[in-house]
Symmetry: D3
Subunit: 150 residues, 6 copies
């Protein structure tokens, strides 16, 4: 017998749902300087990452097998340089629905961070093509809200 | 003028490409015990996560704006419990192509870890619906290989 | 003039909708024994098939041209061995929406059965690479329900 | 800091929304005659274009980064020959939602017109493989409606 | 430990691959007459089904978790009425690749048959909204070929 | 019988393929000034449009029913203000494949232009929510190349 069960949310109420997630990627200080100074060859790293994150939030139901499709009413992804060797991405996702949106916010952050990695690959690789420094450091849910008018 | 540039790989040779990426999610010890004992309500966490990771690797070009579509010839995702409060996911991606597959391996790991989170949400949330403990701890490239017969 | 018309459901009421569909695939008795004993090389056939079915239900609107996108609130797919040469997959799909979900249940069953085929290909092929025995035997709607609270 | 912002529609009312868009592609008169007489090798141009347009309307949220996913309740795409060297496609999209559907109607028209181009490529290309004549001439919103029962 | 393994085809040769699959759906004789006479409200059933089948073949890697993405070079789907109560769909898929395309042909047939069902739903349902007659009867691989120039 | 036929490119040679397409959208002069001065609320219009165009090029096979999936090796989309009331988008797509990429370039341009429309909607609508001025003016293939080393 197969062993996988999607939660049945049919009889849960439609209420306001909000989730904020955050994550960070550690990059070389030289890469961070290149981002700050707009010198990354592939282009505007932070805006591209934010767009990728927004699009990914809308695809969460297709990426995480047991997630429900939800009518997201707002997705905000902000990416910015933090200190001398980090980019932090933060996503806020809102909906009026029968279940929460933390997976959507986490997916947005994850894909935004991966996009930062992809845009800066050339500067991060060492002479053997390895990534001794680059690392997504953490991804977490900052807060969830539920209920109230929507 | 728009500011984004995809690398042109047209004239690069088709060679063997391999990348291994890895990441970890920290969960409550009770959740880890429930995984070990097959007591997670939503089902087989580790197999579901691995499947989600494999499917995600194949969608990398659709998630990361400047990635090229590549004819992946192998994707292996392994998820397992590590110690008393962690699940580690490791992805190996292989292709014969004009550019590398580290973004594919990183995407597989990221989505596998998010799937672990989604499958164990119920046990991870506190009484206010927050996640004080859960955290994706790191995601990194373990190794890349290039060249050789394929 | 083009000849294709999507039904307009704008003015239909949002009510409880449920559909159950079922299908079977005939496999060699040796393959069935291998599934029962967990000896299929590609892994856990029935769980992988169920996950593929759940994901497919959520993509029905993208696969069947005139289907409406619906906010599915529950998808349950069960796959199990039946007798000595069959796997049966059954899908239940639920929503609160303006139109029914039988196509979603049928799509889940179809893709689950195809996944069983894919996972067992190696054992089903004869020495010339043909499939003299394998066959999806039937796919049908078991029941539909409509109305009531949701 | 990233520079992209999705509008927050969470607190807008769910009302009836309708949009009609239209566009035209100019083709060689010989191609138009071939369409009229059912002599296009790739098959029924106008029906294929309409189907592609309907499917595309449902994917708008995945194509236009800041569009919201909406539960479309009706998509109607009509493609027809107009005069001696044009095909006109018109799309009507309807929903009950918190924001309008003009992008969905425009996307349906755009992809329907591109499908007409793809189906007639062979007749449109000159001996050097160029398209001196073919051109999507315009795409516009014919009308939008909002409010009223739904 | 997760239990799922994609086959590694990296070192297999790129050769000509072809697969033909076929399936049938049983419909009410009245429905079949309506198809023959072009009286189905939703439009051209057989062409819509064929288009859905072609598009689905190209998405097989996204539907069947362990399938490889393949550069399909030809997909042909034919749907036709057979006798007084059946529609038969047949798909031929061709590629030059490292692994076979039977799953692509089977997926094309499955989605084409489901599209026939969707287009004829209104005539197939009884007064209680059930489908006592409709049934996908079988889906099978007719033949596979491998090798030779490509 | 269904009436749709994908071209069989199996036996065509893999050669260098390039296509350049271009299109324009007419906007109000006030909107153009707002773009030039970075005052569009939704953010960086031209970069967002270029990213949407690049992503769309990679999805052409999923949008245009009879297009083949192709391993694109380069996609370049440039969007810029032209004169006092236009934005022009130009896409170059390159691959080594068995068939051409003009549909990919045209799709990239079309979705980039639609994204410009979506980003500037608020300034383009009149007080009744209509678009009396906005219009995608033309989309055409600038040039195609074929052959040569790749």
């Amino acid at each position: 017998m197969s062993k996988v069960h999607m939660v049945d949310v049919t009889h849960k109420p439609v209420v306001y749902r909000e989730a904020i997630a955050e994550g960070a990627i550690r990059l070389r200080p030289e890469t961070i300087r290149a981002i700050r100074e707009g010198r990354i060859e592939k282009g505007d790293v932070l805006t591209t990452a934010a767009i990728a994150g927004i699009l990914a939030a809308k695809k969460t139901w297709d990426l995480i097998p047991l997630c429900h499709p939800l009518p997201l009413t707002h997705v905000d992804v902000k990416c910015e340089v933090s200190g001398e060797d980090r980019v932090v991405c933060r996503a806020k996702v809102v909906t009026s629905a029968k279940t929460g949106v933390e997976m959507e916010a986490l997916t947005a952050v994850s894909i935004a961070l991966l996009t930062v990695w992809d845009m800066t690959k050339k500067l991060e690789k060492d002479e053997e093509g390895q990534y001794p420094y680059t690392r997504i450091e953490y991804i977490r849910v900052v807060s969830k809200k539920k209920g109230g008018e929507a």
